[in-house]
């Protein structure tokens, strides 16, 4: 089976371990990921702060390309990309005039036939039905599933999971033998783009997240967003200086945890690329 694949910039750079683990898990379950050819930036947080047309035209071009390349379903692992693409499809589908305008800007017709899956939806649809039978080494750890902001919000557009206390990742973790903890910071802000400009604020915001997970005995954080990952992992020094102690709970992508459970090589899952050493 073949699914479309939109990596976005992070998965080609700072979070290539996410891309590698996604592809490794997909391959294990017989899914071919066909990268959209000639893809561009989704616009991320910058575009929609500056220019509405641009913030819609960029994702619309990606979707139009995918449609043109005969794809009916695309997987978008990065939560921010997933949000931008889904919001664009929503905005354009309810406003024909806007759709026409954006199509003209791109000089490319976007029909809106394509469906967009985040990583959890992709796993739920194509992997979960057979997942439990494929587990060879249960991921027997207490985990804190951290959803961040983009995966579940805004609910009226994404229509995915509960926005205040989401559950889908927790349920997935149960399937691979992990014990998800009940905690308070599932959807609190990690600091996002302040990672670059105000590292100290990120230390405080991500510190509260890591701190609560630690207090409740988590052995690993599970994430689906490259931005969240870099704040919780790469900025761990700032986090630790906010917490005033050295906390070394590793931060894994959901696909890395699944990969470990179904027996994929650690190297293929790119666990060695994290800043906080993954020893579990």
């Amino acid at each position: 089976m073949t699914l479309g694949f939109y990596p976005g910039c992070s998965l080609k750079g700072s979070s290539r371990e996410y891309a590698e683990s996604v592809l490794a898990v997909a391959e294990t379950f017989g899914i071919t990921m066909q990268e959209i050819s000639d893809w561009n930036c989704c616009g991320a947080t910058a575009a929609h702060n500056l220019n509405r047309d641009l913030s819609l035209a960029l994702p619309a071009r990606i979707l139009a390309l995918a449609e043109k390349q005969g794809l009916t379903e695309i997987v978008v692992p990065c939560a921010a990309c997933y949000s931008r693409l889904t919001v664009t499809r929503y905005e354009l589908s309810k406003d024909p005039a806007l759709k026409a305008k954006i199509s003209e800007i791109n000089n490319m017709e976007f029909n809106g036939t394509i469906s967009i899956l985040n990583i959890i939806q992709m796993i739920d649809k194509y992997i979960t039905p057979v997942l439990e039978s494929r587990v060879v080494k249960p991921f027997d750890h207490k985990v804190a599933c951290y959803y961040g902001c983009y995966l579940v919000r805004p609910h009226e557009i994404l229509n995915f999971d509960r926005e205040e206390d989401p559950q889908t990742m927790d349920e997935l973790m149960l399937k691979i033998g992990a014990t998800p903890i009940d905690w308070a910071y599932k959807t609190e802000c990690c600091g996002a783009g302040l990672s670059v400009s105000r590292t100290k604020s990120v230390g405080r915001l991500s510190g509260k997240i890591i701190g609560d997970a630690k207090d409740r005995g988590a052995e690993a954080m599970i994430v689906v967003c490259p931005m969240c990952h870099s704040n919780l992992d790469m900025r761990r020094d700032s986090v630790n200086s906010y917490l005033g102690e050295k906390v070394d709970i590793p931060v894994l992508y959901v696909t890395q945890a699944i990969g470990l459970a179904v027996g994929i090589e650690r190297k293929a899952l790119a666990l060695q690329r994290h800043f906080v050493k993954v020893t579990i």
């Binding site: 509960r162 926005e163 205040e164 206390d165 905690w183 308070a184 609190e188 609560d212 207090d215």
Partner: protein
């Protein structure tokens, strides 16, 4: 030959600002059959009516067209004026120049043209009007009150004390409603039960009141003065006449862990139970959903211990059919539960409770006998946080309105907490303090200034549990939106007041309207607050919108006066605008061919078969006949009739055609 008068009203400037009223009157005066036409500033005023009356008498008018406002506003006024001048009131028609023309169009030629058209079609219609006589119907002087909370109790007592019979039905085993659950009442802090229970007893003992508890309305038919209600008396599994209310059965029932509705789930009850010690009637019912005997077929302990053998396991629901003349809906409201709030934990934290639950904790008859103890471990909370507007005034939650009672009861809660837990700390997060009412603002100031309750203006974004404390994260918007974090032992959410579950279904059963929040709709928001759009059905209390006790009681007394006013008449007059099947001389008798499609089409079962017999008693023809007492004039049968044999009086085929032709024909 018709002699029609046309009376064009300026309605101050309401009509004349956009319509050239003088031109309308002049044009109408030239129509065939119009013998008199005039315009005047206020046609509904005394001098205006005199113009109409004088014209009828002096010109011998046979029909009148008043071109003014909506007939909903002044049709009765002008028809009465015509009648006073000796003209049959149904020879008067109204052209709606205000709502249908001047209010919705700009000033201009076209607007005046439209006004002229509106007048012309009514002139043509009135040529075919016929004299009609109002229908007289008797009034059944018994009222049905639905709901036995404070509003229903007050309405029942007021109607009964005016000398009329009342049937009060309550779905729960006892009357008393939410008020019986409350601890103390703002702004005087008098005990709720102390002021309510005497009223409950009065209801039970009043000779004019028949009380059916554990009963619901099954169906309703008929119209003002002449309703027929079916009431389902749910089986109590008990012979109430034999039961002495000794309560032995409730102490021996082995099934003791059922969450008590009266205590809002904070206490338990047995399967055979009296909801609370002061219940009226003070006799138990068996809750069949939880009773071991009904689930497993074994037990019957209550039956064994009952000293008077009053238990009846095989008792069935009973349907009581009764005739009533008026109805008061007093079904009250519900509050949102804590599981409605994802950001406050979806109801998973036992120490986050609703305001109504706090009432039970603070009440002397409650599960803690009035001590403020938190549900999880029974500890006395040292720090307590109250959240106003939990759900209310929040469009994202689908509840954009203010629930109205919360600001006051939260001040009361915090005050009661401070009185009962010395040294305790209480916080209130609020958006605005809405304390409009007699002695209300003073009451809130007392909580803040005398009892030291900390009021924080701001919202709470999240509550979670950590190390046995509830972490309340909010903002203080008076200090520039700085984050506030409180480690509380207990949190009380003033959850939104909403319509009762099933309110929509009941409204449909009663044929009354309801608003988008499923509260029952009043007929006019200012001038008819206790009436519904259905004649003879009235509203009292929080079933119409969130209401506090004084407002509910006032509304109930208002509704009771409306009922008593209705019952002060022996007969009601009804508009004769009903369907009739035409009758002709023999040998045709009627153009009706007896297909009886109309019988199945009629929503009011108002059409029956009539057999026309010859002198020997042999049936010559079967035709349809409309019962004028039941017909509501909806016109469905007219549309169904294949031979156009049915007409609505006042809106006959002839009248309708003439209206259409008036528009189509060039004048």
């Amino acid at each position: 030959m018709s002699k029609i008068g046309v009376f064009v009203c300026h309605c101050g400037e309401n009509i004349s600002a956009t319509v050239d009223c003088v031109k309308v009157a002049e044009t109408a005066g030239r129509y065939e059959g119009v013998t008199f036409s005039v315009d005047y500033k206020y046609m509904c005023s005394d001098p205006g009516q005199s113009i109409i009356k004088n014209a009828i008498i002096e010109k011998g008018l046979t029909g009148v067209v008043v071109a003014s406002c909506s007939p909903r506003m002044h049709e009765p006024t002008f028809r009465k004026a015509c009648a006073e001048a000796g003209l049959n009131p149904y020879m008067c028609e109204m052209a709606n120049l205000r709502e249908h023309c001047s209010w919705v169009h700009e000033k201009g030629e076209a607007t005046t043209e439209k006004a002229i058209d509106l007048v012309r079609i009514l002139v043509e219609k009135v040529k075919y009007n016929q004299s009609l006589n109002a229908i007289k119907v008797p009034v059944t002087k018994t009222a049905l009150v639905i709901g036995g909370g404070i509003a229903g109790i007050q309405a029942s007592l007021d109607i009964a004390n005016a000398g009329h019979k009342v049937i009060l039905i309550e779905k729960d085993p006892s009357i008393g409603g939410h008020m019986s659950q409350l601890s103390e009442t703002f702004p005087t802090l008098d005990c709720s039960q102390c002021i309510l229970t005497p009223r409950m007893v009065e209801v039970a003992q009043h000779p004019n009141i028949t009380l059916y508890t554990y009963a619901e309305l099954e169906s309703l038919e008929g119209f003002i003065g002449n309703f027929k209600a079916k009431i389902r008396r749910k089986s109590k599994s008990l012979d109430e006449k034999i039961c002495t209310g000794c309560g032995l059965c409730t102490t021996k029932c082995p099934n003791k862990k059922i969450p008590s509705e009266f205590n809002e789930g904070l206490g338990t009850r047995t399967a055979i139970y009296v909801p609370f010690p002061q219940a009226v009637p003070n006799k138990p019912v068996i809750d069949r959903i939880h009773c071991t005997y009904y689930i497993k077929g074994k037990c019957r302990i209550c039956e064994k211990v009952c000293p008077t053998q009053a238990i009846r396991f095989d008792q069935e629901d009973q349907i009581v059919e009764t005739e009533i003349g008026a109805i008061v809906i007093a079904t009250g409201f519900a509050v949102k539960q804590t599981d409605f709030f994802p950001e406050y934990g979806y109801g998973k934290y036992p120490d986050i409770i609703t305001g109504l639950q706090f009432e039970r904790l603070a009440s002397a008859s409650g599960p803690t006998l009035g001590e403020i103890r938190r549900p999880s471990d029974g500890k006395i909370p040292e720090k307590i946080v109250f959240l106003a507007c939990a759900g209310s005034r929040d469009e994202a939650k689908g509840i954009p309105y203010c629930s109205k009672i919360c600001c006051m009861y939260i001040a009361k809660h915090a005050m009661l907490y401070q009185h009962k837990v010395h040294g305790g700390k209480s916080y209130v997060f609020y958006m605005d303090i809405r304390a409009g009412g007699k002695m209300y603002e003073e009451f809130v100031r007392r909580a803040i200034e005398d009892d030291g309750v900390n009021y924080i203006r701001g919202r709470v974004s999240r509550i979670y549990e950590k190390n046995g404390k509830l972490i309340v994260k909010g903002a203080d918007t008076l200090l520039g939106g700085i984050p506030v974090e409180i480690e509380a032992d207990m949190v009380v959410l003033a959850t939104a007041g909403v319509a009762n579950e099933g309110a929509e279904e009941l409204a449909q059963k009663l044929h009354v309207s309801y608003d988008s929040y499923h509260f029952f709709a009043e007929a006019h928001p200012k001038l008819k607050p206790v009436e519904t759009n259905t004649a003879g059905i009235f509203l009292a209390g929080a079933c119409q919108a969130p209401r506090d006790i004084p407002e509910s009681v006032s509304m109930a007394s208002g509704a009771a006066v409306k009922v008593a006013g209705l019952f002060s008449q022996d007969e009601l007059t009804r508009e004769p605008l009903i369907a009739v099947v035409n009758r002709q001389a023999a040998p045709v008798y009627s153009s009706c061919v007896g297909c009886f499609l109309c019988v199945s089409a009629c929503p009011y079962q108002a059409i029956e078969k009539e057999e026309i017999k010859n002198r020997n008693g042999e049936v010559i023809k079967s035709i349809a006949k409309v019962n004028p007492g039941l017909c509501q004039g909806c016109g469905t049968c007219v549309a169904f009739c294949r031979t156009k044999s049915i007409d609505i009086q006042g809106y006959t085929h002839e009248q309708m055609y003439s209206e259409v032709m008036a528009l189509l024909n060039e004048y």
